[in-house]
């Protein structure tokens, strides 16, 4: 029983990281209908941004660790927001009226460009570097359950960000505009919405979430390196498709589900080597049963 609860907690922590990344894929898909493959690299850049920010502020880390962690996470999120919007401006916007496949291939190109540029010794180098423990480490034990403070922090921050994102998308004019652009950009432009600006904001928001996810992922991983985004990136992409691409709650559900499946499969000795295979097999089954994903559905539109 405690074993089960333990795995549940681990799975949720991993799943919430996938969820944060999946939101970026699904938001961009919502407004531009393509998969931004460079998204996985933005999460890597987020981890590196945090790495350098933390290294540059050792005094603050010692004096006020929690404030320091918050500053590092926020700083990395801001840097990635700018980078994400920049990638869109430079690489995708010039292709706005081109076939979607062109943009998709460009996205793969951007992803490779970032990965290999970062592997260059003059940039980050290919070696793995150990990531600083941003949050003070305490392992709470609760009725035989070990709660790592990192996992709790990740869960808490994810919950906070999800609530914030939900509020922005559902309750603010910006959010309504984002949904309007996702539904019909031309109609949105006839309302006076600057569609290009909304797309920039969408990339910025998704990239900021990816930065937080990248930091959370780095905290659980042995270290960071320029290709660290690939694995979680693919998983989160799958999570987004699983939940129904373009659907925000779907991305969260898909991410949590994938994290849980992977953790439970990995927890069983006989299955641990196959955990990715199990996750992918499940994905295929779900997509055969529900091609639009778990929460994806066609909106009725009368003309």
């Amino acid at each position: 029983m405690t074993e089960f609860a333990q795995q549940l907690l681990n799975g949720l922590a991993l799943g919430s990281i996938y969820a944060l990344i999946a939101l970026g894929y699904t938001m961009v898909y919502g407004v531009l209908r393509f998969i931004n493959f460079a998204h996985s690299d933005v999460l890597m850049l987020g981890a590196f941004a945090a790495f350098y920010l933390a290294a540059a502020t050792p005094h603050m880390a010692a004096a006020t660790p929690l404030l320091h962690a918050g500053m590092v996470v926020l700083g990395a999120a801001l840097i990635c927001a700018v980078l994400g919007a920049l990638i869109e401006r430079l690489a995708y916007r010039p292709l706005r009226d081109r076939p979607r496949i062109t943009v998709l291939i460009t996205a793969i190109g951007v992803s490779l460009l970032i990965e290999y540029t970062c592997q260059h010794p003059a940039v980050f180098g290919a070696a793995t570097r150990s990531f600083p423990q941003l949050f003070p480490q305490h392992n709470l034990t609760l009725g035989g359950l070990t709660l790592s403070s990192n996992d709790l922090a990740v869960l808490g921050i994810t919950a906070l960000l999800l609530a914030l994102l939900w509020f922005v998308v559902q309750k603010t004019k910006l959010g309504v505009a984002m949904r309007a652009v996702a539904f019909n950009p031309q109609a949105a432009s006839l309302m006076g919405v600057d569609v290009g600006r909304i797309i920039s904001v969408t990339f910025a928001l998704g990239s900021a979430l990816a930065a937080v996810a990248g930091i959370a992922y780095a905290l659980r991983a042995p270290g960071i390196e320029p290709l660290m985004g690939v694995q979680p990136g693919i998983k989160a992409f799958i999570a987004a498709v699983l939940g129904g691409i373009g659907n925000l709650p779907g991305a969260v559900l898909g991410g949590l589900l994938l994290g849980l499946i992977e953790t439970f499969a990995g927890g069983l000795k006989q299955l641990s080597n196959y955990r990715d295979a199990i996750a992918f097999a499940l994905l295929i089954i779900i997509l055969i049963l529900r091609p639009a994903g778990l929460l994806g559905r066609e909106q009725p539109e009368k003309v």
């Binding site: 109609a187 432009s189 600057d194 003309v303």
Partner: protein
């Protein structure tokens, strides 16, 4: 108020407009008539910046808007109710209206919403409903109401009667006249229903395969034998 000069628009190899010129004065209702494929929708889309013109100019209140992006044109007070309505089916009625007032402040938007609800009480009854589940007629009211939310000085209407029961069509046309009269909004109206359009419009233009072939007062157009046989059913 709205001056279109020599507008030419191409879709790839197809030329949809061959040098269209027309003008709409402040306070007028002008109707643009023509058969399917004549280029009526293309004309409106070129005016509001959704479609780039190859040559020619569009000016609005003396200002050249030919190369402006749609959101800049809207900001100047030109509203467009596009063909097929293009309401946001994934948003509620109120959210659709909020988008219509995207460029207004919160207080102005709330005030404008009351006016739109007065014009279309049905929208108030349905305000929390997801727009995709409205009936066709209600969607048309929403499309017009949404455009009115932006306080346009001039409104382009693309076939507001399409797919709507005759009784409701009459009601919507009464609203169009009311909007023009009481709010002083200039209207460029594209219609298949030439009888009705010429009954409410001050002037009309007839488009044929991308060219303006006739342009006159409504009364004169109604009396014109060519127009009678081609668009007024005898």
């Amino acid at each position: 108020m709205l001056e279109i000069k020599d507008l030419t628009v191409r879709y790839g190899a197809v030329t949809a407009l061959h040098g269209v010129s027309l003008s709409v004065k402040a306070g007028e209702i002008v109707t643009l008539l023509g058969a399917n494929g004549a280029g009526k929708t293309t004309t409106l889309r070129a005016i509001s910046g959704l479609q780039r013109a190859v040559s020619g100019t569009v000016s609005f209140e003396g200002c050249d808007i030919t190369r402006m992006p749609p959101h800049e044109i809207v900001r100047r007070g030109l509203g467009h109710v596009p063909e097929g309505r293009m309401i946001f089916a994934n948003l509620t009625v109120v959210e659709n209206l909020l988008m219509g007032a995207y460029l207004l402040g919160e207080a102005q938007a709330a005030e404008q919403r009351e006016r739109v609800f007065q014009t279309f009480p049905r929208l108030q009854e349905r305000q929390a409903q997801v727009a995709g589940t409205l009936s066709g007629g209600e969607q048309q009211m929403l499309a017009i109401g949404r455009a009115l939310m932006g306080r346009p000085k001039c409104l382009l209407l693309d076939e507001p009667s399409l797919g709507i029961a005759p009784l409701l069509v009459r009601a919507i046309f009464e609203k169009i006249v009311e909007i023009n009269h009481t709010q002083g909004i200039t209207i460029l109206l594209v219609e298949q229903n030439a009888n009705l359009a010429l009954a409410v419009a001050h002037r009309g233009c007839v488009l044929e395969t991308g060219r303006v072939v006739l342009s006159d007062d409504s009364a004169a157009l109604r009396a014109n034998p060519q127009v009678k046989s081609a668009y007024l059913g005898g």
